[in-house]
């Protein structure tokens, strides 16, 4: 109460976020979705969609609250239409 946040490896975090959004938010598989320079990054767009669904602060960034939700056990059916 409250639990101290764990220090996360940045690469692992990005992998978790990409995998989660691909599984449940129809993020298209792309070698480097976070490195695109034109228009809004699809990863950020999907992240915002996920944050909105779960009532989190919509930042488009994988903050601690967002990562906490992503790590929770869940149903394998996507939250959005594929």
């Amino acid at each position: 109460f409250p639990v101290a946040p764990e220090v996360e490896d940045e690469g692992k975090t990005l992998q978790l976020v990409e995998s989660y959004l691909q599984n449940f938010y129809n993020l298209q598989k792309d070698r480097h979705p976070h490195l695109r320079s034109h228009g809004e990054n699809p990863l950020n767009t999907k992240l915002k969609e996920m944050q909105l669904f779960f009532g989190l602060e919509v930042t488009g960034k994988p903050d601690l609250d967002t990562l906490e939700v992503m790590k929770k056990p869940r149903c394998g059916v996507p939250d959005v239409d594929q």
Partner: protein
């Protein structure tokens, strides 16, 4: 609630199901019971019926599967994805797949098979994920004791919008997820805990940290899986760093995340007469070490050092706490006692022995 895109639904109300295999982690009879109970969650609130079949194709085929199980949606091993199900339709439509690598149980350890199955069957019937955190169709797992489970109203509304109401004379209703800023919100119990406030309501608690603006909504079972829902009174004993939780004629003592062994115990061990069936509210006065228990229109005072009720009690609440006749919940903070009755809150000054302020019950949530 959310419908599956395209609004798929079964054209018939009499559906069949088949159990293709069993998990070795549970007794077959317990798996059968979990499936029967999960189906009844939906049949109780709609005109749908489910008939078990063997050795032939059923509308809903239920199986335990391992990793890649040839449906283009491989499981990922322990934790993560627990199960998935397909929308109503021919062939694979309606089928439920459970990840064999999960720790399936019939209770609160690991993952409760009944809870997960009931959720998946919602998909089999045409519901998508709800963003109501209290709904069964919310995508993340949270444990509820199957014996206490009531289908939340959000799910009832969703499934009835697809299949209509149940044929029973009295329509079932379910619990609604509390919202901190609902002006009609009332509380079952409230306690301080290490500087935070915990407001109990049904199977939820609203957690308010003084330094954070937002209020967190959690299931009670997330922190304390052994506690029941519908807690009726709670108080913190700061000196012992414990909270005591009351429901009906029992109480539990909690230290951090742990419910102490040997609990629940009967409240009569604290000195209540057998005529007392439940405690409505309680708070501990840090300065004196006395705990005040509120039962109907009376209150008792308990000496935490002597571990006995003080003489001369019960007394009428109205005699010593002004116009506060009955109390739903109470806590002490910064020298004041806060009493809750319905949607009203009274701030009581124990030194002056009078009510100094009257507020809405939700005043703590920055609404």
């Amino acid at each position: 609630y959310v419908f599956t895109p395209g609004n798929p639904k079964w054209k018939r109300n009499n559906l069949t199901y088949r159990i293709l295999n069993y998990t070795p982690k549970m007794r077959r009879a317990d798996v059968d019971e979990a499936i029967r109970k999960a189906l009844s969650v939906w049949s109780n609130v709609t005109p749908l019926t489910f008939q078990k079949v063997e050795d032939k194709e059923a509308d809903i085929m239920i199986s335990f599967a391992y990793r890649d199980h040839r449906d283009n949606s491989p499981f990922d091993g322990p934790n993560g994805q627990l199960a998935h199900a397909f929308q109503p339709g021919e062939g694979i439509g309606g089928d439920v797949h459970m990840d064999e690598e999960e720790a399936w149980t019939k209770d609160g350890r690991g993952y409760n098979l009944f809870i997960v199955l009931a959720h998946e069957l919602g998909h089999s019937l045409g519901l998508s994920h709800s963003n109501d955190p209290g709904a069964l169709m919310y995508p993340t797992y949270s444990y509820t004791d199957p014996n206490e489970f009531l289908l939340p109203q959000d799910d009832i509304d969703g499934i009835q919008a697809i299949y209509g109401q149940s044929n029973t004379a009295v329509q079932p209703t379910g619990p609604v997820t509390p919202e901190a800023c609902d002006p009609n919100l009332t509380f079952d119990a409230i306690t301080t805990l290490r500087g935070e406030l915990f407001f109990f309501k049904g199977r939820y608690m609203l957690r308010k940290h003084p330094a954070r603006t937002e209020t967190e909504l959690n299931f009670i079972s997330l922190f304390w899986p052994k506690l029941p829902s519908g807690i009726q009174a709670a108080y913190e004993n700061v000196e012992r760093d414990e909270i005591l939780i009351f429901k009906e004629d029992k109480y539990w003592v909690i230290e951090g995340y742990d419910v102490l062994p040997g609990y629940p115990k009967p409240i009569y061990g604290l000195g209540f007469p057998k005529t007392v069936k439940r405690v409505n509210a309680a708070y501990n006065d840090e300065a004196t070490g006395k705990t005040y228990f509120f039962v109907a229109d009376r209150y008792w005072r308990y000496d935490e050092k002597k571990k006995s009720m003080d003489h001369g009690y019960p007394r009428k609440i109205v005699s010593d706490f002004g116009k506060i006749g009955r109390v739903d919940a109470a806590f002490q903070k910064d020298g004041y006692v806060y009493f809750f009755h319905g949607t009203t809150q009274f701030q009581f000054d124990p030194r002056a022995k009078r009510i100094v302020r009257q507020m809405k019950s939700t005043s703590w949530f920055n609404c």
